[in-house]
Symmetry: C2
Subunit: 651 residues, 2 copies
């Protein structure tokens, strides 16, 4: 590798790419095609303005069932001085949509005339009378759709660069066209590479990674108006990757070369681009996303095919789509690039950021009281659920080392700002029942957004007025009572209520078959039993210490007491991998890793809610659900869950 361009700023990277595209005459609309009018044109982009070929209506049309006439002839008609017109000479019956006779300039609706027979008597045959009697005048062009009312021939119907909607198709047809000229869809080849990758649906094993970036990228490309072609996974073999890139360049307008996240793949990508064309950028100062590659591949005919080396981590890959691919497709289609809705909000947590990078932080957003708040989600580039859950992105630009909790930030929203008013913020200890709650609340038009910061973190958020509710399971070691003492300690001056939620069983997680025959905490003192613990301050740790003290067991007697894990799942993983024999946790963690579970204690997980929100319309569906049989049953079916206290006000 002769060029390794490490982490240049985003603007400069885009400018280099732009420049290369211009040189290759690839900076505008790629091409156009004429397509017959059909319903699948929605979303396509007009490549030429649509000018009306005919007027619409293309003739003066009756707008009502009635009689065509000349308005002058009934100018003086009044209730006391009716005017009679002879049908066939001064009036003619017309149905709605019929052409107006040339001599006529108005239509009187059938219900506004008296139909007369040749003796001047009222007749039943309202559509074929001898004459009609009118008792009111009407202005010229009444009840006529004049030619060109909608569209005048030669008029502009749609500009070019317009993204077609259903009504546009109608207007194009009305203007006399049976086809429309649209930008052709850019063909985008997506090449996943990496020896560690396996196709979706293959059995997983340690060290193998399910390849789904090509799926996400293809869906993005199609959604943005391109036509994605997914190639099979290429293992990390230089010659093979080179061959596929070379082939793809001949057939495509753009290549997305998606390196696996393991080492080596990325270097292959850069080297291939280097060999087959020009490596413009290798490494962009955005996080997540660093190892983005931008380049051009030379085709046999001397033209060039742009290539983007997409990083392997799924969040990086998806954001690369938004930052690099969407604007390029927009340009090739001749439509404006997507412009995110930007709002200002207060951030609930401190963030640090590498000063050299534009840092894209995924956040959830909601309105609590009169504050618009955003809470950062997991920042790992591998955490695709952070994009699934995210309501928007906060960009911490280069040069900023971080921001304090409570700072005002600009948020690029993925949702309508209106939706944030229907958002219930739940910051605190997470429980799986909140996932179910979110599911049920959605049918009431509410969005539950939760951030897992632990029970104590939730109480802090309540103190700051930054959440509608906080999940909490804090045992008071003195009284053995849950949550009450913690609320009094953390929120002495705030009016909050405690809504009883679930009792969940904590117990010992052991390997399938319980090989060490462990039955309870008393077994932890056995010489042949290795325990693994939760970190200090965790609810489960507090529970363990409390129960050990009741049994008179000292931590020093337990092998592995000092070995701390940070989540229920990490404890389960330690046991599943054989590092420890048991640990304290919830049943769901055992189920997740196919362990056995020895139930020991029930703990109380409640929702702490400021009194001001208990009356708020926003939260009413939550209180309804707490009493709803269906919902309670669904929660009670979770392993180790019990709901008898659900919906009861503890405080």
């Amino acid at each position: 590798m002769s060029i390794y361009l490490q982490d240049i700023p985003l603007n400069e990277a885009l400018a280099r790419f732009d420049n290369a595209l211009k040189k290759a005459s690839l900076s505008g609309v790629l091409g156009e095609e004429t397509v017959e009018l059909h319903e699948h044109l929605v979303g396509r982009v007009t490549a030429k303005p649509v000018w009306a070929r005919i007027s619409s209506p293309h003739y003066h049309a009756a707008a009502m069932d009635g009689f065509a006439l000349r308005a002058e002839n009934v100018a003086g008609a009044m209730p006391t001085a009716p005017v009679i017109l002879t049908v066939g000479q001064q009036a003619a019956y017309v149905d709605t949509g019929d052409p107006l006779p040339l001599w006529a300039n108005a239509v009187v609706p059938i219900e506004n005339v008296e139909a007369l027979d040749k003796d001047g008597q009222i007749t039943e045959d309202a559509r074929r009378p001898h004459s009609i009697r009118l008792r009111a005048a009407l202005p010229p062009w009444s009840h006529v759709r004049p030619m060109g009312e909608d569209i005048v021939a030669t008029q502009l119907v749609l500009p070019s660069g317009h993204v077609l909607r259903p009504v546009d198709l109608g207007a194009i047809a009305a203007a006399g066209h049976d086809r429309v000229v649209v930008s052709r869809k850019p063909r985008v080849a997506i090449l996943p590479t990496g020896t560690e990758l396996i196709e979706i649906g293959q059995p997983v094993e340690a060290g193998k990674i399910i390849e789904f970036n090509s799926l996400v990228l293809a869906a993005q490309v199609n959604q943005w108006g391109g036509e994605a072609v997914r190639y099979p996974i290429s293992p990390d073999e230089y010659a093979l990757i080179r061959q596929r890139v070379r082939e793809a360049a001949e057939k495509s307008d753009l290549i997305l070369l998606n390196a696996g996240s393991s080492a080596g793949s990325e270097d292959f990508s850069a080297a291939v681009v280097q060999e087959l064309g020009e490596l413009l950028v290798h490494g962009v100062a955005v996080r997540p996303g660093h190892p983005v590659i931008l380049g051009m591949i030379d085709r046999q005919d001397g033209s060039r095919c742009p290539i983007i080396g997409v990083p392997g981590y799924p969040v990086s890959a998806a954001l690369t789509g938004e930052i690099f691919i969407e604007p390029l497709l927009a340009r090739w289609l001749g439509r404006p690039p997507h412009k995110p809705i930007e709002i200002e909000a207060k951030i609930t947590r401190k963030l640090t950021s590498p000063p050299g990078d534009d840092d894209y932080v995924r956040v959830v957003a909601g309105r609590v009281g009169d504050q618009l708040l955003v809470a950062p989600l997991s920042r790992g580039a591998g955490v695709i659920t952070s994009l699934v859950r995210s309501d928007g992105i906060v960009v911490l630009p280069r040069g900023i080392q971080g921001i304090e909790a409570g700072s005002r930030v600009k948020v690029r929203l993925y949702r309508q700002p209106e939706e944030l008013n229907q958002t219930i913020f739940a910051i605190g200890s997470h429980d799986i029942s909140l996932d179910l709650l979110a599911q049920y609340l959605s049918t009431y038009g509410r969005r539950l957004v939760s951030a897992n910061v632990g029970s104590q973190g939730g109480l802090v958020a309540l103190r700051r007025g930054e959440t509608h509710l906080a999940g909490c399971h804090l045992l008071d070691a003195q009284t053995g009572v849950y949550n009450l003492a913690a609320v009094q300690q953390y929120l002495p001056d705030q009016k909050v209520r405690i809504l009883g939620w679930v009792n969940r069983v904590q117990g010992l997680l052991v390997a399938r078959g319980n090989p060490k025959n462990i039955k309870g905490l008393q077994d932890l003192v056995r010489e042949d039993v290795i325990f693994t613990n939760r970190q200090r301050g965790a609810g489960t740790r507090i529970l363990l210490d409390y129960q050990l003290s009741l049994l008179g067991i000292s931590p020093a007697q337990i092998r592995g007491y000092g070995q701390e894990e940070y989540t229920h799942l990490a404890v389960a993983a330690a046991i599943a991998s054989g590092r420890a024999d048991c640990g304290l946790g919830i049943a769901a963690a055992a189920v997740a890793l196919d362990l056995e579970f020895i139930p020991l204690f029930e703990e109380e997980y409640d929702l702490i809610i400021p009194s001001v929100y208990t009356e708020d319309d926003l939260l009413q569906p939550l209180f309804t659900l707490a009493q709803d049989e269906d919902f309670r049953k669904a929660v009670a079916q979770l392993p180790g869950y019990e709901t008898s206290r659900m919906g009861r006000w503890i405080l």
Copy 2:
């Protein structure tokens, strides 16, 4: 027809329909299907929650290239007190993505260690050294993606009723699924009826109407997640329509029976519904849209197929889609119905409304100064371009007879509110060059929205501060000078400027071949020449009167002087239809109706702009374009246009 339920309120109509759907067990999700994960699932709706089958990562994975180790073993490492670990015993080389060995709990990146050979000397073979030297400690789990970092097995990945986006597909795959359960697409049969209808692409003639409602409805249905099937046009034959409805009911979840706009069709529809099932509603008090039919068709197996009789006028048809069809599809798919963004704005014109109806008024919207304004578009049910141009809908509810200009109204927006800040409002006399201007401005990210209220109307809008600019061509009969006098008269106290725009030729429109050999205004006094005029106050009428006075011709000498038409096109139509021999108008009107044009006078069409906006960033692209060669050339190519004054400040 035994039941003819005329114009019941929308809520009641929906309630009846709802009730019938419930009885037929059609008020929830219609069904589900399991679909393999692929990129075309975007937009489909989950029918079941997606729970994680596996964790992601499904093993503890190295997040960097480096050495796996136990953090405890390097706890004391410092620059002055390095720690050495033997590779193979206390450390193992791992690539990014590799599984962490069971005994390890952290990874040190390769660039943070000194690789040593067996003599303790630094070695080049960084990945296969004998031992490594560290000069800093690191916390447990550093540079490890712990199992379940992204997704924990059994966790909720997506709720049901979720509209799938690209990243969701990735999350589903990461959670160990290769397929997903989505709501099946409701099958919607669209039956256009009407003897007057012709298919798109057929030659048009008076009395024939191009059938494009089925195209618009099908595009809407597909966009909202249904699967539309378009049937061929049925002429107004009762037995045929009955037969097609009966057939469609067996194959479809919903029938849209689109009556032609002519009389008769609509009655057929109601009678067919009545005969084949149950007519629930015939006539809803919404405008446009009145003749909506709601009913149920009985299938052979005893189940029922809902049917909606969609009115024939295109605006009514499209709005029927939004009001009745979209929410029904949403319910059948299990997703929330679309909720329009609502903003408050000031309406620029007085509106009257039938007090018995919910009146759906199409509007354009923009921000002028610090006011959010909406201007009503044409209210004709036949004017599909009013939907194409519309930025939103103002609903005047039942019971309201109208609203005054300047009232605050609620607007259901079709666009992002942000787009309104990029909108240039042009209220005044319309000119075709403004269509071109709109086209060019869009490439600068500006939207030009124009409402044609005539020159004087534009000056009034300027006086009220309700437009960024106004097109104007008002001749001062005393001086023969355009626009200056009118501006001084209408806007004596306002700082405005006049931007020279186009000179356009006015002349006589005559039939092809000029059979009466008309050469100028002096021919209007000939006995064999019938003229047709514009209405009093029109710029063209003022021009005519001025020119006649110069020639010393009196109106009384002209046959047809009293025959007034309201648009250039209406004049052209009168000549095309043989009602008159000539009229005064612009060349474009002659081109539109294939007439001959005798150029006579140039008139000056200018843009009046408040001084405050001449410095505004919003309008700068307009001034740029006024000097742009490309744009000026495009305008100059319009028939009868000349652009030498374009961009010059007249005042």
